[in-house]
Point group: C2
Chain length 232, copies 2
């Protein structure tokens, strides 16, 4: 079944909402907001997607992706993240620039293209933001759970991904001298507002709670190779 650019974006939005919020209770308003359209518009599209059996949905009920809808959404995400990786690794885009272009590239229709790209990049498992890349069967590594704000004072951790993908945050991270795979030591934490002093490459920085909550990390135990069920 050949889907339009727009239909693909609705499916992707549905998957992303459940990814991010954990909830899989998505309503018309939330979906519409995430696509920056009006609820009436989303409602129309939902009828169409239901007709094509890509979503499960009853009037006034909650929306869920069907099995096939989910597979397609995962495929779009696979393409998005592979293209981001290509732009970052091969064309030397910075990590705050890749998303916008990948939003376009993810809709290019050619299985051969994406499989060859995957191979060319040597089957990467994570994109430049640390997000897992689904394989061609739609399977993907479990995403990280622990953030920098969960790390106790005195402990070390490793930055593995970014939660907020906005380019302003991504640029800010670089400015602080931080990046994927960096070791971070939590030096101190202000009790009143959780302002945290971290040490990265021997440089101290002070970051807000909001900042710390948007940096995914692996804890000290995980770094040393021990399994930790809290981290992933």
């Amino acid at each position: 079944m050949l889907l339009s650019y727009t239909e693909e974006n609705y499916l992707k939005a549905l998957l992303k909402i459940t990814f991010n919020s954990g909830i899989n209770e998505v309503g018309t308003n939330k979906l519409a907001a995430s696509l920056v359209v009006k609820p009436a518009t989303a409602n129309d599209m939902l009828k169409k997607l239901k007709e094509k059996e890509l979503v499960k949905y009853e009037k006034y009920g909650k929306i869920k992706l069907s099995k096939s809808g989910q597979k397609i959404a995962l495929d779009i995400i696979r393409k998005h993240r592979l293209w981001e990786t290509f732009l970052y690794q091969k064309l030397e885009f910075s990590w705050d620039e890749v998303h916008e272009v990948a939003e376009q590239l993810e809709h290019i229709k050619s299985e051969k293209l994406i499989d060859k790209l995957d191979k060319y990049l040597n089957f990467p498992e994570f994109d430049p933001h640390g997000d897992p890349i689904p394989n061609r069967n739609g399977e993907l590594k479990v995403h990280y759970k622990k953030t920098l704000s969960d790390i106790a004072v005195g402990s070390s951790c490793k930055m593995v991904a970014v939660k907020d993908n906005s380019s302003s945050f991504l640029q800010y991270i670089i400015k602080v001298g931080l990046g994927i795979n960096n070791q971070i030591k939590v030096i101190s934490k202000q009790e009143y507002d959780s302002i945290t002093i971290i040490e990265v490459n021997d440089i101290l920085s002070s970051v807000s709670l909001k900042f710390a909550e948007n940096i995914y990390v692996l804890c000290g135990d995980c770094i040393e190779g021990k399994k930790c069920f809290e981290c992933q």
Copy 2:
């Protein structure tokens, strides 16, 4: 000015018609045929493109690209040919597969992307079919003029480009053992129907007039580095 996928294709079609036919007297019917739409549809679009000052066009008159329309069309062709080169050189697509995917990729909007791709490919001057790639100012090498059918019996030449880009012809060329930059010696030519015996890499093949007319070549003089005004 941000153009739609469709508008871009109309501009590209206009440029391609003038490229290929030499004529720059394009009418509604010819344009429509080249885009596989009905004349009525092309007529509607022409009004819109005129409004945007991308084409010069009066009712019942001939169609011409404006300066800005031509620049945009050249830009699409630049993107198309750079993507073809990428698919061919980096992702190991065969030369008969690249066009279809490039038809989609040529509409991705990002100047940075195309400039970085250009650099990544080391500023190629020709695509996998030997067609010249416009630079970022829309300037391009003059295209080849002489075809294999122009070469005299006993003379040698070098294949430099393909006139007919259909995948069936491209596949056929490979089957004959021919490719860009191959030396071709014209062994004999049947007077009645111009069936030509050629020698490529010590192998003899017999090709039709239609075939020979669709292979661009440089003549013997040009191969030896002498300038020849007939060839380019």
